[in-house]
């Protein structure tokens, strides 16, 4: 043990400098060339930062496309899922309440058409996306609240739908913040 303690301490110090000091500094320097310069990619609207491209926001007004429920209420100072188990009766009650709220705000929608993601919380609590189906089901409400033709919104959603990677891999999605910014822009 005595034979190894000094080499161990000295090697530890050397490696701390390299792995914890130089390595992240190097990555930060390279990231200066990346979108957002390594600070995270922000979204501008009317000359103001209104959010981060990858971080979801809370939307509760009828004129906006709603995001998914969030266990941290979209406060990105933290992040968490609900961690509710699938058989938890309290959790199932919460889901039922979300279904009722959704139906109250979206008259004419059939319960069996509501995609599960609209009434279940995401893993991070900051999910920026929805599936196209979860956006489409909200179009009549948004159109009514804004006094716009549903077809125009439908076209906008289509424009904002990102297909699978290379058209082959993973799910399709719509970035809710960017769609809502486009909705605001369109109305002016």
């Amino acid at each position: 043990m005595k034979r190894y303690i000094f080499p161990a301490v000295r090697l530890t110090l050397v490696l701390i400098v390299v792995l914890a000091g130089l390595f992240p500094l190097f990555i930060a320097a390279v990231a200066k060339m990346a979108p957002g310069k390594g600070d995270g990619v922000t979204v501008m609207h009317k000359g103001k930062v209104v959010g981060y491209a990858n971080i979801g926001q809370k939307f509760t007004e009828d004129k906006y496309c709603w995001s998914r429920p969030s266990a941290v209420d979209y406060n990105a100072a933290g992040s968490a899922g609900s961690n509710k188990g699938p058989s938890n009766p309290d959790y199932l009650k919460t889901v039922q309440e979300r279904i009722d709220t959704f139906l109250a705000h979206n008259p004419g929608v059939n319960k069996e058409d509501i995609p599960a993601e609209l009434v279940t919380a995401s893993g991070s609590g900051l999910d920026p996306d929805l599936s196209p189906a979860a956006v489409e089901i909200q179009i009549p409400r948004i159109a009514k609240a804004r006094g716009m033709a549903p077809e125009r919104i439908k076209a906008l959603v289509k424009e904002h739908t990102k297909g699978p990677l290379l058209g082959l891999l993973g799910p399709s999605k719509v970035n809710v913040l960017q769609l809502n910014i486009a909705l605001d822009d369109m109305q002016q």
């Binding site: 390595f23 990231a31 979209y74 039922q96 069996e112 995401s122 893993g123 799910p171």
Partner: protein, 571 residues
């Protein structure tokens, strides 16, 4: 749906495609042959000089273990005090407080042993200094410890009769300079260009479109996320780990992180074949491990795509599958695949909350950690598998009535005793831990801890029991994922899992190194007609059977009380 499944298949295929040449390369590095990375040699010499190390000094297996344990102890002491006093150290732009002693104890051990159980949230429980100078540093060195100890075992398997097993520092440093650091740089840059933050700026604040003021945690995360996967560590920058949209922004980063976490464990198996020059043996090992992966991952993907029966009962559409705790950009198939890979290889990073997955998926995740050697963690995966091999050789020997032999050396009482002890250790720690926590929950619900036992569980009934079982399983496997609803930041969980982490890490390293070291000292017996062929399909099946029997016998009763009971209660 099709594109989601295709995403999983392509991701796995890509992993294999990269693991093959990487395995070849790793074998060359540790054989001391010429490689493209030889330009690192002067840097390594500088490291040795600064540390007063002679990398040519040959060590026997005991000296290897002494060096390994000594440096791990140094890291633990350093990490414990740094976490305790992090509020007084620099690089704390968000003004986060120091950790409590029990949390610092748990966190320090957890990162030293390559587990990364996190009883804190990255945004508020640590500072940029401790994230980088303690946690990210430990990500590198704990992974290198695992790989270096595997190389010691491979050295012992390679030579006919020897006590000279190379130099621990040499294996350890080369793992970092030749494997982990170059790969981590590539992956970190991919992440940074896809939106993961990498600068040292603190929290940002903005007013959202709807008028809410929102804070956003950031920081130099890209490098840490790269090595947390490469080193099968799993401790994330943010609380939600790789479910966080900055930690894992899109499907490109999904594939990158997914490949990164399992490429080294698979490459190590191929490297083993090249290193000891028994490729067929490596293929059989790889085959058994892959079969294990498939047995766990296919039911999980089907279950998650099928959705929750309780939600279906409410009359809601589940076109993509079960979505609680999952992110839209990954979907249930991609999340199910991740949840199994991360549990079989001891990463423990998550891109969806395991607590909210279906009971059968939870069962598969726990089984993955209980077996802990379907590919397994960096280096240690094969060490765990080696123990199963020793047991399988022993049982096969008994069946045919011959003294068991493995790789030309007799397997005798001492080695079998060590292997049996290691095998029994896991069920003992997992089951005794769960029993103890259940007892306290039932009999001392009001104990005056930071989280009272009555408030530990986030879910009632069978699922609550699963939360405790999962926590100890994850600790013993050095996995680090959790059923995170568990209120685990209090002295009971911090200390009890802390000790299980230590034992669950070092005994399964000491055991195989000792067995391999002892066997390498023995006389070499050339293979004859009656020798058990350990590179045959039959022996592969035998090992698989040993794995199933040992784990089924050990854990079935506990699993029946948790996920299995929950499954039947929902159907």
């Amino acid at each position: 749906m099709t594109t989601e499944i295709l995403g999983v298949i392509i991701t796995y295929a890509l992993t294999l495609l990269l693991a093959w040449p990487l395995g070849k390369y790793i074998a060359r590095v540790f054989k001391g042959e010429r490689t493209w990375s030889d330009f690192m040699a002067p840097i390594e010499r500088l490291f040795y000089k600064l540390s007063g190390i002679n990398p040519k000094e040959e060590m026997n297996w005991k000296q290897h273990l002494k060096a390994l344990l000594t440096i791990n102890l140094v890291w633990f002491v350093y990490a414990f005090f740094a976490l305790l006093f992090q509020d007084k150290l620099p690089l704390n732009p968000d003004g986060n407080p120091g950790q409590t002693p029990d949390l610092a104890f748990n966190t320090a051990i957890s990162f030293v042993v390559n587990c990364n159980l996190q009883h804190y949230s990255g945004e508020s429980g640590v500072t940029y200094f401790t994230q980088l100078f303690v946690l990210e540093f430990l990500h590198f060195v704990s992974a290198a410890t695992g790989i270096a100890s595997l190389i010691v075992v491979l050295k012992a398997l390679k030579d006919k009769t020897t006590s000279k097993l190379g130099n621990f520092w040499d294996f350890f440093v080369k793992t970092i300079t030749r494997i982990l650091l170059p790969l981590a740089i590539v992956i970190a840059i991919i992440l940074a260009f896809n939106g993961t933050p990498a600068s040292y700026k603190g929290k940002d604040s903005y007013v959202s479109l709807q008028g809410d003021t929102v804070n956003v945690s950031r920081g130099p995360a890209a490098g840490m996320i790269a090595i947390k996967h490469l080193g099968t560590n799993g401790g994330g920058w943010f609380g939600a780990n790789s479910a966080h949209p900055l930690e894992n922004p899109n499907y490109i980063t999904y594939i990158t992180e997914m490949v990164a976490q399992v490429v080294l464990p698979i490459a190590m198996i191929f490297a083993l074949g090249f290193f000891i020059n028994r490729k067929k043996f490596a293929y059989v090992v790889f085959g058994v491990m892959t079969l294990g992966l498939l047995c766990l991952v296919i039911p999980t993907i089907i279950t998650e795509i099928h959705g929750s029966p309780a939600i279906a009962h409410m009359g809601i559409a589940q076109p993509t599958g079960a979505m609680e705790g999952k992110e839209v950009r990954f979907g249930p198939a991609g999340s199910a695949y991740w949840s199994i890979v991360t549990t079989i290889i001891s990463t423990g990073s998550v891109n969806a909350m395991h607590d909210s997955t279906m009971p059968l998926s939870g069962l598969m995740q726990m089984l993955g950690m209980m077996v802990n050697s379907f590919y397994g963690g960096c280096g240690v995966g094969f060490l765990n598998y080696y123990i199963y091999i020793v047991i399988a050789v022993f049982i096969s020997g008994l069946m045919v009535g011959r003294t068991p032999e493995f790789m030309g050396h007799k397997l005798e009482a001492r080695e079998i005793k060590i292997a049996a002890l290691i095998t029994l250790l896991s069920p003992f720690m997992i089951l005794a831990g769960t029993a103890l926590s259940s007892f306290i929950l039932a009999h001392h619900p009001g104990a005056d801890w930071a989280v009272k036992p009555s408030a530990w569980l986030n879910n009632p009934g069978y699922h609550g029991f699963s939360e405790m079982l999962y926590e100890y399983t994850s600790s013993n496997a050095n996995n680090g994922s959790g059923f995170e609803g568990l209120g685990d930041n209090n002295i009971f969980w911090n200390v009890s899992t802390g000790f299980i982490l230590i034992l669950g890490r070092f005994l399964p390293i000491i055991g195989p190194v000792a067995i391999a070291g002892l066997m390498a000292n023995k006389k070499f017996i050339p293979a004859a007609a009656g020798t058990l062929k350990t590179d045959s399909l039959t022996f592969g099946v035998m090992t698989f059977a040993v794995i199933i029997i040992i784990n089924a016998l050990s854990y079935f009763p506990a699993l029946a009380l948790g996920p299995i009971a929950e499954y039947f209660s929902m159907h």
